[in-house]
């Protein structure tokens, strides 16, 4: 079972909240934020272990938030959410410190697997 805290940052409210609910149903401590600014606030307040981060948001790009996280809290594992066809953007994010990326529409099983992998990675470090 996953024991860490997870934050979902995505401007698509319906998507973020539904995903949040589904993870919560699986007994995970999870919150969602619906803009870049809110996401950064939640990182301070909620101190998540893993952040699921959308690549495209109106106020701030996912890559910007990623670099802020890597500055202030380098221990947080970041999984990027990308649309189809933005494999390159996902890879770029990984080069900048993201743990992995996953394409939308998200398959929950796949996501859970990646979250687990991120946890294991953190434990090793």
């Amino acid at each position: 079972m996953i024991d860490g805290k997870i934050l979902i940052i995505d401007d698509e409210v319906e998507f973020a909240s539904t995903l949040c609910q589904r993870l919560a149903l699986r007994g995970i401590d999870v919150r969602d934020a619906h803009s870049g600014t809110e996401g950064l606030e939640q990182i301070e307040e909620f101190t998540p272990d893993i952040v699921i981060l959308d690549l495209k948001m109106p106020d701030m790009s996912g890559l910007d938030i990623l670099s802020r996280i890597k500055q202030s809290r380098p221990d947080i594992g970041v999984i990027m959410l990308t649309g189809h066809g933005s494999v390159a953007a996902g890879i770029e994010a990984m080069e900048k410190g993201a743990f992995d990326y996953i394409m939308k529409p998200v398959d929950l099983g796949e996501l859970l697997k990646k979250i687990e992998q991120a946890h294991e990675q953190r434990k090793k470090e």
Binding site: E14, F15, Q21, R22, H84, G85, K104, P105, V106, L108
Partner: protein, 592 residues
């Protein structure tokens, strides 16, 4: 590049869309003709100018040269004859000193003198002594002593006045031309003048005239003040006749005065140089000059150089060379202008081809971008539906059994499946636009085709379609992207199956093109396509399949992939006969 205005006016205007290819052909022909004329003009005009100038120059040079020759010869001959005459005078004066009058009255003494003179000048015909009253006193010669009284005769008056007299040539005894030389001497004691008179055979004069004349002259002779001929001319006239050229000055382009500027001094001495016409119509150069202290004029006649064979040959040669040059020029320039036109025609065609290609690629790219945008936008709500369905399913699994639970779960599964189908569509749309990384590996095209067909074998069998391989086993392995090529052939074979419907045949063939490329042909015996369909077959979203069955993207994706892999595709179709796709792929990929 900015072309100068006149050349661009000439060039065929392929930039404008000329629908009618006949118009374009006309404009190429016009260009070729224009180029030919311009080049020919550029080459010919200087040639003609130079030829005309050199012709004129050469003519001038020849004129000047022959005039100079003539003038020099005139002077030389004049000197020779004048010297001869003055020597004759000196001799006569020397043999008849003033005080020898009495001595010479004695015929014996005169005879001695005459024979002595004859030894020196065999052409002396007679000699006589005339006393102060004008009477013949002594005579040696073919006639008898006649005691003639010369007082009234003009020559006698002249010799008394001037001391010397030379007569015109006249036909004396035996019809032989002679002339007379007389000198007057003082009688001792101032008792008047006595005269010694000699008659000389005209042959002497003839000899001297001939001696001085150069070989290039066609005639040379003497005339008297009235123009009566004094020595026998070679061609033009006889002694005693009038000089035939005296009144025959011909109008001619011969530039005498200009060419004789250097000889002003000579011309001042009553010299006359002119072009005359012979009785046979030939133009001749005629020069005459007074001989000092004689009654004669020397006449030289010369055939005009420019009318001789030399000049004709020169003109023929010049004309011949120009003619050869012109023929060569026309030949070379015709080839050049045709060659350039052909070159332009080909490069225009190539440019038009590239233009069409670029337009195709451009269309694909912009439609691709549009498709990607649409797919991306749909992707977001799709993922929400996906999550919501998942959430509902989560709740169902947490909730106990209730009425219709299974039906609802079944329905949700249907929603999930539809989402997956949508996902596949957006995936394809995005893949169409996406610049995916090409993974190059060595692969066997024959094997790849067999693998692809294996996917579709079931469907083909079901539709009673035979798939036949005619593969060339010697086809080399190529370096390309396996996954993308699979997609290409899957598309094409799938299309063929769809086109045939049921009951037909698909033939797959492979082969090599000159060890650099391979070709693959997929032929079906389906219904074929009209020209309009063939023309639009690679356009995105163009489909002939029923609505909902095809996206219209298959062949445009195929087209894009093949371009990316450095290959190309062509289609040949005829309604009722079937369709053939030919794909050409490089053996070694540029992307490697």
């Amino acid at each position: 590049m900015k072309q100068s205005r006149w050349i661009s006016k000439l060039l065929p205007s392929t930039n404008e869309q000329i629908e009618n290819s006949a118009d374009l052909e006309t404009s190429y022909r016009y260009f070729s003709k224009g180029l030919f004329i311009i080049l020919l003009g550029v080459a010919m005009i200087p040639l003609i100018i130079i030829s005309v100038l050199s012709h004129y120059q050469y003519q001038n040079l020849l004129q000047k040269n022959e005039l100079t020759q003539l003038i020099l010869n005139l002077e030389q001959s004049q000197n020779t004859i004048e010297r001869f005459v003055s020597k004759l005078q000196s001799v006569i004066k020397f043999v008849a000193p003033d005080d020898r009058y009495q001595e010479l009255l004695d015929p014996e003494n005169l005879e001695t003198l005459f024979s002595r003179l004859q030894r020196e000048y065999p052409d002396f015909a007679d000699i006589e002594v005339i006393d102060a009253s004008g009477r013949q006193k002594s005579y040696i010669g073919p006639y008898e002593l006649s005691n003639n009284d010369y007082t009234g005769q003009t020559w006698y008056q002249e010799v008394l006045q001037r001391g010397v007299y030379i007569s015109n040539v006249f036909s004396g005894f035996r019809q032989v031309p002679h002339f007379v030389l007389a000198v007057s001497r003082n009688l001792p004691g101032d008792k008047g003048l006595w005269v010694l008179r000699v008659t000389i055979d005209g042959k002497t004069l003839q000899r001297y005239v001939e001696t001085g004349a150069a070989s290039f002259l066609s005639d040379v002779y003497l005339i008297d003040a009235e123009g009566v001929i004094q020595t026998q001319p070679r061609k033009y006239g006889h002694i005693g006749e009038k000089n035939i050229f005296a009144s025959h000055a011909a109008a001619t382009r011969y530039n005498i005065s200009e060419n004789l500027v250097d000889y002003q001094e000579l011309l001042a001495k009553n010299t006359d140089v002119s072009v005359v016409k012979a009785p046979d119509g030939q133009e001749l150069l005629h020069a005459a000059i007074d001989l000092q202290s004689t009654p004669w004029r020397l006449v030289l006649v010369k055939d005009l150089y420019l009318h001789g064979d030399d000049w004709l040959f020169f003109q023929l040669r010049l004309f011949g060379i120009i003619l050869i040059c012109v023929v060569l020029m026309v030949f070379v320039i015709l080839n050049i202008s045709n060659g350039i036109t052909e070159h332009i025609r080909i490069s225009d065609k190539r440019r038009q081809h590239f233009f069409v290609e670029a337009e195709n690629a451009n269309k694909l790219a912009s439609i691709g971008r549009l498709a990607a945008g649409v797919a991306h936008e749909i992707n977001n709500p799709l993922s929400i539906i996906n999550q919501k369905t998942g959430l509902v399913m989560d709740y169902f699994s947490l909730t106990g059994d209730f009425e219709h639970k299974q039906d609802m779960q079944q329905a949700l599964k249907g929603v999930q499946q539809s989402v997956d189908r949508c996902k596949a569509i957006t995936h394809r749309l995005l893949g169409f636009a996406r610049h995916t990384d090409v993974v190059i590996e060595e692969l066997d095209m024959n094997l790849l085709l067999q693998e692809v067909v294996a996917f579709l074998a079931k469907e083909a069998t079901y539709n009673q379609i035979d798939i036949v391989f005619e593969l060339d086993e010697s086809v080399e392995h190529i370096h390309s992207d396996r996954g993308q090529l699979q997609q290409v052939f899957l598309n094409i074979v799938n299309n063929a199956i769809d086109a045939i419907g049921s009951g037909g045949k698909i033939v797959l063939k492979t082969g090599m093109i000159q060890e650099k490329e391979i070709w693959i042909k997929v032929e079906d015996n389906g219904p074929g396509m009209s020209r309009e369909v063939v023309r639009r077959i690679f356009d995105p979203f163009f489909t002939t399949k029923e609505t909902g069955k095809g996206t219209g993207l298959g062949l445009s994706i195929t087209y894009g992939i093949l371009r990316k892999l450095g290959g190309r595709i062509a289609v040949d179709s005829e309604p009722g006969k079937g369709t053939a796709f030919e794909i050409i792929l490089p053996i070694r990929n540029k992307l490697e």
